[in-house]
Every structure is written in C-alpha cells, then in structure tokens.
C-alpha cells in the first residue's frame, strides 16, 4: 500500500505546483478569498466523488447520480416553495431521504437481481431525469419562489467557513471512517478484489451493494439540495452530464475502474485537481472553451500514468509460431497485451 500513498502525495504535489504556477502568472489567484472560492467550488464534486469511489471500488459504476441530484434538487425546491415554513434541517433530511430511496432502487436491482451496474444506472438515469420534467412540468423554480433561508444555507458562514465546506469535510471524515474502519467498508474492497472469494468468506454481497448504491444516492440527494440552493434555481437540465465529471475526478484520483483499489484521499484530490484547473483557466486568460478539452487531456494522462505496471501479460507457453509455421514472426505478437 506504500506506493498508493506515494501516488496520492504526488497528486497533492501536482495540485500545489499547479496553484503555484497559476499564482506566478496571477498573484490574485493565491489570495485567501480566491482559494476559499476554489474550495467551495470543489465541494459538490468532492462529495459525489467520495461515494462514487465506494461504488467503483466494488467494480460498479453509478451513472444515475447527476439525474438523482436533479430530481432530489427539484423535489426539495418544490417542497420549499410549497411549504416555505419548513426549516432547512427538514429540507436536508428530505433531500437525504429522497436521494437514498432513489439510490436504493439502483442498489436493489444491482445487488439482489444481479444486474450489471452500468445498465441499471443507465436506465434509472433516464427515468430520474424524465421525472424531473414530469414533476416540474418543464418549468423553472426560480429564486423568487424559494424561501430566503433555503437559498442562504449553503454559503452561510460558520466560524469563517461556509456550510458547503463544513458538509464536505464531514462527508470526507465519515467516508474515510467507513472505508477504513468499518466491516461494511472493508467488505467493499473485498468484493471489488475478488467477488467469488468474498462470497465464500460469507460477505453479504447483495446487501452490501444495495447500501453502497444507497449511500451514493443519498449523497446525490444532499448535493441536489445544495446545488439548487447555491445557484438559486432548479430546472430539468440541472447538472446535465455531471456524472462523467465525478467519474473523471475518481479516475484522476487513482481509483481503479476494475475495482478493489481506491482511497478517500484520491477522490478528494481528484475533485480538487479538476476544480483548480477550472478556476485557474479564466485567471490565466485561457478561453473557457478550453475547459472540456483540458479536462479530457488530464483524464487521459492520469489513466495512462496509473496504468503503468497494471499491464499483466498472460504467459504464453507454446509460441504461436510453433503451432503454425506460417504464422507471422513472434516478435510482433508478443507485444500485444491481452
């Protein structure tokens, strides 16, 4: 595990270098307010990457989180606009509950019916996104319809730090504790590493998977409320395509899509890295049109770097040439990896 830690230290170093380089071009970037802006901007991505990390560790993937976020966000926005007297605490509980329920649907289909995660979450992603439209009738819920306390909560400061950052910090600590010190968390790594062996040692795979997707959904629900409140608007297309950004953050953080490998630090750093890039672009006067292309290059670089050493070649005992004299020379074939 030592080289894993090394990799995350490297990523942290890379982020610091990036901040330093941007700071040289534009010292304004290094100011406290600008840095806290970057941190606040990264919170939602970070929180979603944390639970997505748990899902990916089990060899799964949750494509429905952005739709879940939109649906939970829309439902809480509608709830708050219909019942303005509800306290923010009730709203947050509602958001958590809605998200959890939507996540558990994924989890039940994947855990108990043994269906492939990518297909299930592809399906629920469409359904949830469509339901946002059905619920709202395609209309926007604007800031005028939402109560002031509802909108103010995410960016309200407590001891000088915004609620968003506090919530993200709590999420980081809770996820770290789950992944590191609970049976539940350790089981997820076992499932991802060796599903068959995990079953033989008596891990309740179905139940574990169901609650992993439940957690992922619950986080998406919470982020749904935070997103809607922060930007003070709810509409059908909210967070469209964001699931890929979240997965990208995980990939950059060294979480292996093949399962079994991933850490909280990786998810956090991956999300921070993407946020720093996105916030730095306008400051160094690179057109925002470059944002997506740069993100793509960063993802590809990260996976290529992570992949080195992961390429296990099967050993071939008989050369193909010896089986078939007309076969091409061995050299060209040996380079192929299976």
């Amino acid at each position: 595990m030592r080289w894993m830690k090394h990799r995350e230290a490297l990523l942290a170093l890379l982020i610091l270098v990036l901040i330093g380089v941007v700071g040289l071009r534009a010292p304004l970037f290094l100011s406290l307010s600008s840095m806290s802006n970057v941190l606040t901007d990264s919170t939602l991505l970070m929180m979603l990457a944390l639970t997505q990390m748990l899902v990916i560790v089990t060899r799964g993937i949750d494509l429905s989180i952005a739709s879940n976020l939109a649906l939970s966000g829309m439902m809480t926005a509608l709830l708050a606009s219909k019942f303005p007297q509800l306290s923010v605490a009730v709203i947050i509980l509602a958001a958590l509950g809605i998200g959890l329920f939507l996540g558990l649907i994924n989890g039940w289909l994947i855990g108990y019916l043994n269906l492939p995660p990518i297909v299930v979450t592809l399906g629920t992603m469409s359904v949830y996104r469509g339901l946002v439209f059905v619920l709202s009738g395609g209309a926007w819920v604007s800031s005028r319809q939402m109560p002031a306390a509802f909108i103010a909560f995410p960016l309200t400061h407590l001891w000088g730090i915004s609620h968003l950052v506090w919530l993200a910090a709590i999420a980081v600590i809770v996820t770290w504790f789950i992944a590191r010190y609970t049976h539940f968390g350790r089981d997820l790594y076992a499932i991802g590493n060796q599903p068959v062996a995990a079953r033989y040692v008596g891990i309740a795979i179905s139940q574990r998977l169901m609650w992993t997707y439940g957690l992922s959904g619950m986080m998406a629900g919470l982020c749904g409320y935070l997103w809607v409140a922060r930007y003070a608007v709810a509409y059908t297309e909210i967070a469209y395509g964001f699931e890929f950004t979240v997965i990208a953050a995980c990939v950059i953080g060294g979480i292996s899509i093949a399962g079994g490998v991933g850490s909280v630090a990786g998810a956090v750093l991956g999300a921070l890295f993407l946020s720093v890039i996105n916030n730095a672009l306008p400051i160094v006067k690179i057109s925002p049109f470059w944002q997506s292309a740069l993100t793509g290059i960063v993802i590809l670089t990260a996976v290529v770097i992570n992949a080195r050493g992961n390429t296990k070649n099967g050993r071939q005992i008989l050369s193909l040439q010896s089986l078939d004299p007309s076969a091409r020379p061995l050299q060209s074939k040996e380079r192929e990896t299976v």
Binding site: I61, L63, L109, L113, N114, L115, P116, I118, V119, V120, L122, G123, T124, M125, S126, V127, R129, G130, L131, F133, V134, G138, T236, Y240, G241, F244, I247, A248, V251, I257, A258, S287, F289, W290, Q291, S292, A293, L294, T295, G296, I297, I299, L300, V303, V304, A307, R308, N310, T311, G314, Q316, L320, L323, D324, A327, K333, E336, T337, V338
Partner: protein, 305 residues
C-alpha cells in the same frame, strides 16, 4: 433467432398494433416514413457499438466524435472543400478519433470506459475550442439532399443508408470468421488471445470502425440540421448504448445480434413516433426508454426466481 429477438419482435408488433388502434393518423405513410429521421443516425452508430460491446469494450465518446467530425466538415467547407470531399473529411476525422481510442485502450491495456470518458471530453472540448460561440452554417446542397432528402419522394435516404449498413454489419458479424472472432474475444479475451486471435488488432479496428460510423452519422446529421453547433448530438452516447442493450447485446460481452439491435431501434422508433403523435413531450420518452431497459433486463431475472 434467439429468444430475446422473438420477445423484441413481439414487443414491436404490440407497439405497432397499439399505436394503430390508439392513434387515428398512425398509418399516414409520409409521417411514418418521416419518423425514421429521428433514429437513423443514432442507429448507424449503434451498429458498430454493438460489435464493440460484444467484444467487451464500449465507446462513450461517439457523440464527441460526431461533433468533432461535424466541426472538421465545417472547417473544410469554410476553406473551400467541394461537397463530396466533406463526406471524406467527416469519415476520416471519425476514424482518426476512433484510432486514438483504440490506441490508448490496446497500447496501455486501459479499460475502454475510462479512456472514452476522457476522449469524449477531449473531442467535444476541441470542437468548442474551434467553434467558440460561433456555428458553421451554409452547407452545400449535397448535404441537405442526403440529410433531409428522400428516394422516390417518400423513403428518407438516411433510413435507406441505415438499412444498407445494418445488412452489411449483419453479414460481417454473423457470416464471417471476423465476426466469429469478435464473439470469441467477448467470451474470453485471454483464451481468444492464446488461440491465436490478434485480440488487440480486432479491438483497434472496431474502435476505428465506430469512429468512422460516427463520422458518417455526423455527415448526415449536419446535412439534416444544416449547421454545426458545439452541443450537436449531446448525450447521444447513452441513447445509442441503450438501443444496443435493449437489442439484447450483453454488456458482459460475447452475446448479441444485429437483428436484435435493429428490432430495438425500430421498436424505440415506433414508441417515439406514437408519443409524438399523441403530443407527449420528448423528455417523457426518456422515462419510457429507461423503464423499457430496466424491465427488459430485470424481468427474466425476476421470473427465474
């Protein structure tokens, strides 16, 4: 034909009959023919995507490739390339994008879902870098002819192109040794490798084929809507993958048929057309498609319990 295709066939007939009973104007031949515009381009990409998924790979970047191909056409047109050359530009761009995907997947032994999430962002990003907040318009008549035109004034050309390619792909997958090897790779890549199939060469070729078809779809779509914008074909990759999975192709690889994919495409097309005639907004369609997908994969499991 396997059981899945039979089920899909029944579903198709049910949808068709239900539509014709419920909707008075369903059998308007011109409307029916025009409804094929909605899915022909997506289906063109679904065909190679089926091969990729059978081969245990996936390509999330297809709509990014389509966008970049369309942008390349726009640039080429801007610099005076004649109309037939634009088709070449679109397909060449798509093939090059597919090569990049395939190269990264095979050279570094990376999971294709991760690589293509990255290149999806890259391709669409490059499109928006080139386009900025502009759009390419004013394409030549040839593109309009192929994008919106008809054969014999009734059958949309795009639909015919799609059918021709469906036949080509069906022959390729089901009647050649090339196709058999794709199944072999999907079932067990390691065993396929050891039995002498150049697995990575097949993977690379399939990614390039998918890119080329996305380029072709880009040519047709650009002609149909007459412009190139950064958000062209946004989100198509998931609809295309849905078509393929609904068509009975196993996401775990090794199983599926072109006939199934074609049936799924036509069934979805009929559902969309019916909903459109009934004045139901397009986004409701996403719920229907999502539920169809979930029910079709969950039902066999539930029944077997």
């Amino acid at each position: 034909m396997g059981r899945w295709e039979t089920l899909l066939g029944i579903l198709f007939i049910v949808v068709f009959v239900a539509n014709s009973f419920l909707l008075p104007n369903f059998f308007d031949f011109y409307n029916l023919a025009d409804s094929t515009f909605n899915f022909s381009e997506k289906a063109l990409i679904a065909l190679p995507m089926a091969l990729l998924i059978i081969c245990r790979e996936i390509d999330i970047s297809v709509s990014g490739i389509l966008a970049l191909s369309s942008v390349a056409m726009g640039l080429a047109h801007h610099y005076g390339m004649p109309a037939p050359g634009l088709l070449f530009v679109a397909i060449a761009t798509g093939t090059a994008c597919g090569f990049l995907n395939g190269f990264l997947v095979t050279r570094f032994a990376l999971p294709s879902i991760v690589v293509t999430i990255g290149t999806a962002s890259l391709f669409r990003g490059l499109s928006s870098v080139i386009l900025g907040d502009q759009a390419f318009t004013g394409y030549p008549q040839l593109l309009v002819d192929w994008g919106q035109g008809y054969f014999f004034d009734v059958i949309p050309r795009e639909f015919v192109v799609m059918l021709v390619f469906a036949v080509l792909f069906a022959v390729l997958l089901h009647a050649t040794s090339w196709g058999r090897k794709i199944y072999a790779i999907g079932n067990n890549p390691v065993a396929a490798r050891f039995s002498g199939i150049a697995v990575n060469r097949y993977r690379l070729a399939l990614f390039m084929l998918t890119g080329a078809m996305a380029g072709l779809a880009g040519f047709l779509l650009t002609g149909r809507i007459g412009s190139t914008r950064p958000n062209i074909a946004l989100g198509w990759e998931l609809e295309i993958i849905t078509m393929v999975i609904l068509g009975g192709v196993s996401i775990a690889g090794g199983a599926g048929s072109i006939g199934g994919v074609l049936l799924a495409v036509l069934t979805l097309g009929m559902v969309t057309y019916g909903l459109a005639l009934a004045n139901i907004p397009g986004i409701i369609m996403t719920i229907v498609v999502g539920l169809l997908l979930l029910i079709t994969i969950a039902l066999p499991r539930l029944l077997r319990r």
